[in-house]
């Protein structure tokens, strides 16, 4: 039975929801994003429920919400309406949170976040530096709503953009709004969304499709997943508005199979949207039919490319095809099709509701709005951050990200995943938008930001990405299929210490050839990680090629492990950490390291480094060198 046959009915439902919810009621929210769930947040919600009953505070609400972004401190628990922020909450803390904070109104100092700079404990979420410099629009409601309950979305003005659209805007006017707002595609290339929609609208056809590209394949990027998991209705609402503007009657959400939670939440959200008359025939009583189907990807990075994605939904291998014609003219089943990324769709309701002037005031001249980045790697505050375009890399890495783990030295930040590049320290003031990143030789991509320190070998890092694209190349065109293999072979020689100086030029030539002659975006951008590292970190390549040494002490062929007898206290921690028994020696006497048994896994090095007793008695250094490399 449909609950919303008209806008009036939907508004009535909204009023009733708001009436039934007391303002300022205490509500405990537990982050239920994949990151926090991996740390046990799912069980914690259940324990809270039990404890609420046991201690007789049934008036308190408990909710599992979407991702709060600050994965590093998970599982995260917030207590509303004040916004008290507890981090790394464990099952044993639950009883105390209820008895102390909920009943006695006392803050539990132990569970508060401690600012690493001022060393002070912070009580409220809004005061934590990680959140302070962010501008959370797309992500704003993630921590407030239960993604499996449409009522939560409605209570926060959800689906008001679609009612506004249907009541007061023609499809042409919607497209104009999106064009003026300056919204550009968040999937990587940054194509203006309004122009894409217009092109699809202007193509004559009896049937049109729209697709949400949720095949988030870049390793180290998970913002799309968190939006889908945490606020699926915002994506669905954006798609409904898009379908209305373009004239599409059917939509697809193509989700990556590695995201089971996002799939589960989407299924529930789609069902609820249908029940409330927001999907299906005669949406909200208007002459407008549109429904969305979920398609689970089967694991292929290339299917993030739009023509491959279409092939995949059609039941074929995800092979790209040359463009033009673009999907907006010839797409799914040969019909005009608009494909946008998750984050792009999720921006649409905000633009329609709050207006283009509000939106275009955020960001830079050519890149409007905000962008969500996943800040990962050797960074203190791993997590998802939403910032206005134009913010500098330095602000993201140091102010929001809290700098480098273990006080190590910043080396580079890699943006754009396997299609992007490495940006070095002297470019940290770079304002982040589509164009500035392109100029630096990288790309915005879907928003992955991997921070590395001096312990990461730049050649090995470039090889990692190239190996990734090699595995994921679909094999259709020669430059990508064969060229990447050639590049990888050269990199392998360099890593093994068999490289020669001419190899660097060979790499550059091959890279440029692949970039200019590959069929799709995968091949055209695959050499970027190698090209940017050759440009900004050439000396490290030269160290491998000329000196046969690896400055980061990563490339196994070029390094050896040694125990410094004068420093070794004989604490035996490395003996128990060593998986092959290469280190031996009695307690309190300097240990022996047998190179023939050593597999160079770094286990001893790491345990020695972080052990206050021994310090750095185990070193990794370039073969043949007498100086301490590390």
């Amino acid at each position: 039975m449909k609950k919303g046959n008209s806008i009036e009915q939907l508004e009535k439902i909204r009023t009733n929801i708001l009436k039934s919810r007391k303002k300022n009621k205490t509500c405990i929210t537990v982050c239920g994003g994949t990151g926090c769930q991996a740390q046990g947040s799912g069980i914690i919600v259940g324990v809270f429920r039990e404890e609420i009953r046991r201690q007789g505070v049934e008036s308190v609400n408990i909710k599992s919400t979407g991702c709060h972004g600050f994965c590093e401190r998970g599982p995260i628990v917030l207590i509303h309406p004040k916004g008290i922020f507890y981090e790394r909450v464990k099952i044993k803390d639950v009883e105390e949170i209820i008895s102390e904070t909920i009943i006695n109104k006392k803050i539990i100092n132990r569970l508060l976040y401690r600012d690493p700079v001022t060393k002070k404990k912070i009580v409220y979420e809004k005061d934590i530096p990680f959140y302070k410099k962010q501008k959370r629009i797309v992500f704003g409601n993630n921590g407030l709503i239960d993604p499996t309950d449409i009522k939560d979305y409605l209570a926060l003005d959800g689906y008001k953009a679609i009612t506004k659209t249907l009541q007061s805007l023609t499809p042409g006017e919607v497209i104009d709004e999106i064009k003026i707002s300056g919204l550009r595609g968040r999937g990587g290339a940054g194509f203006p969304t309004g122009i894409k929609w217009e092109s699809c609208r202007n193509t004559a056809s009896d049937i049109k499709y729209i697709i949400c590209n949720a095949d988030e394949g870049d390793p180290g990027a998970f913002m799309d997943r968190s939006v889908l998991e945490g606020n699926p209705h915002s994506v669905i609402e954006g798609m409904i508005i898009g379908a209305y503007a373009i004239g599409a009657s059917e939509g697809f959400i193509y989700v990556r199979l590695e995201y089971p939670l996002a799939i589960r939440h989407l299924k529930i959200a789609l069902q609820q949207a249908r029940e409330y008359g927001l999907l299906g025939e005669s949406i909200l009583g208007f002459d407008f039919n549109f429904d969305i189907r979920l398609f689970e990807g089967a694991g292929a990075f290339v299917s993030g490319e739009e023509t491959s994605l279409i092939a995949s939904i059609e039941g074929k291998r995800a092979l790209p095809r040359p463009r033009p014609p673009y999907p907006t003219q010839v797409g799914f089943r040969g019909k005009p099709t608009t494909i946008n990324n998750v984050e792009t769709w999720a921006n649409v309701p905000h633009i329609i509701s709050k207006g283009v002037d509000w939106y275009s005031n955020i960001g830079t001249n050519n890149s409007k709005g905000t962008k969500i980045f996943s800040l990962v790697g050797k960074i203190n505050n791993t997590g998802l951050v939403e910032v206005p375009m134009g913010i500098s890399l330095k602000q993201i890495v140091f102010d929001i990200g809290g700098g480098i783990k273990n006080n190590k030295k910043f080396k580079a930040v890699q943006t754009g995943g396997p299609s992007g590049g490495c940006i070095p320290e002297d470019m940290l003031d770079l304002p982040i938008d589509f164009d500035s990143l392109n100029k630096a030789g990288s790309i915005m991509g879907s928003g992955g930001m991997i921070v590395i320190d001096n312990d990461t070998c730049i050649v090995d890092f470039a090889r990692y990405f190239l190996n990734f694209t090699l595995e994921e190349s679909c094999g259709k065109c020669v430059p990508c299929r064969v060229g990447i293999v050639q590049m990888l072979e050269i990199l392998d020689l360099i890593i093994e210490g068999k490289g020669e100086i001419e190899d660097l030029e060979r790499l550059e030539n091959l890279a440029n050839l692949i970039k200019t002659s590959s069929l799709c975006g995968l091949g055209q951008t695959a050499p970027n990680p190698v090209l940017t590292t050759l440009r900004y970190f050439r000396s490290e390549y030269l160290a491998h090629v000329v000196d046969k040494s690896c400055p980061a002490a990563i490339c196994k062929n070029l390094v050896e492990y040694r125990v410094i007898p004068e420093k070794c206290t004989g604490c035996q921690r490395c003996v128990s950490a060593c998986p092959t028994g290469a280190i031996t020696g009695p307690r309190s006497q300097p240990h022996n390291l047998d190179p023939s048994k050593c597999i160079k896994c770094r286990a001893c090095y790491e345990i020695c480094r972080f052990d206050a007793i021994a310090g750095d008695a185990i070193i990794i250094r370039s073969k043949g060198s007498t100086a301490d490399a590390k």
């Binding site: 994949t34 990151g35 769930q37 991996a38 740390q39 994965c71 590093e72 998970g74 394949g217 870049d218 390793p219 180290g220 990027a221 998970f222 997943r225 968190s226 199979l257 590695e258 995201y259 398609f295 689970e296 990807g297 089967a298 694991g299 292929a300 990075f301 995949s312 939904i313 059609e314 039941g315 074929k316 291998r317 995800a318 996943s374 990962v376 790697g377 050797k378 791993t382 997590g383 890699q414 995943g417 992955g448 991997i450 590395i452 990461t456 890092f461 990692y464 990405f465 990734f468 679909c474 128990s576 950490a577 998986p579 597999i599 896994c601 770094r602 286990a603 790491e606």
Partner: protein
Amino acid sequence: MKNLKKKITKIFKEFTVDEENLIPILQKIQAEIGYISKQGVEEIANFLRITEGQVYGVASFYSQFRFTAPGRHSIKVCLGTACHVRGSQNILEEFKRWLLIEPGETTEDKMFSLETVNCVGACALGPIVIFDNEYHGHMRIKSVDELIQKYRTEYETEREVDK
């Protein structure tokens, strides 16, 4: 064999004869049976009225599909970028060393299947390994052996109880 056919025929009932359903059918069969067998490929080709080559071509293109029976436990080592810079390659090597198999293979005793995945998006916990559906974050070299032994012991105990 007959049993398998029965199961597959039951799955077909949920789908129409349309090539667009190929991937969802493959997914459903793998979810229920564990892998795509040779017989499975034949049955699908018959059902969708396409060639076995087409079915196998699509199935082998996507990394999700496997063509051999999985082991009792699945081990997925995340090789996403964040895990990579935190040493996931060494973790993978250690699994290979203990299990004596390559990614994509199953141990001889059918206990463990080793796989690699490209980022599960739990980057704060890297390097991360997913054992069946359990996340093990901040993996160290030594934890590899410990994990394997833990699952082996559990299995042995179960067998003792069964006896």
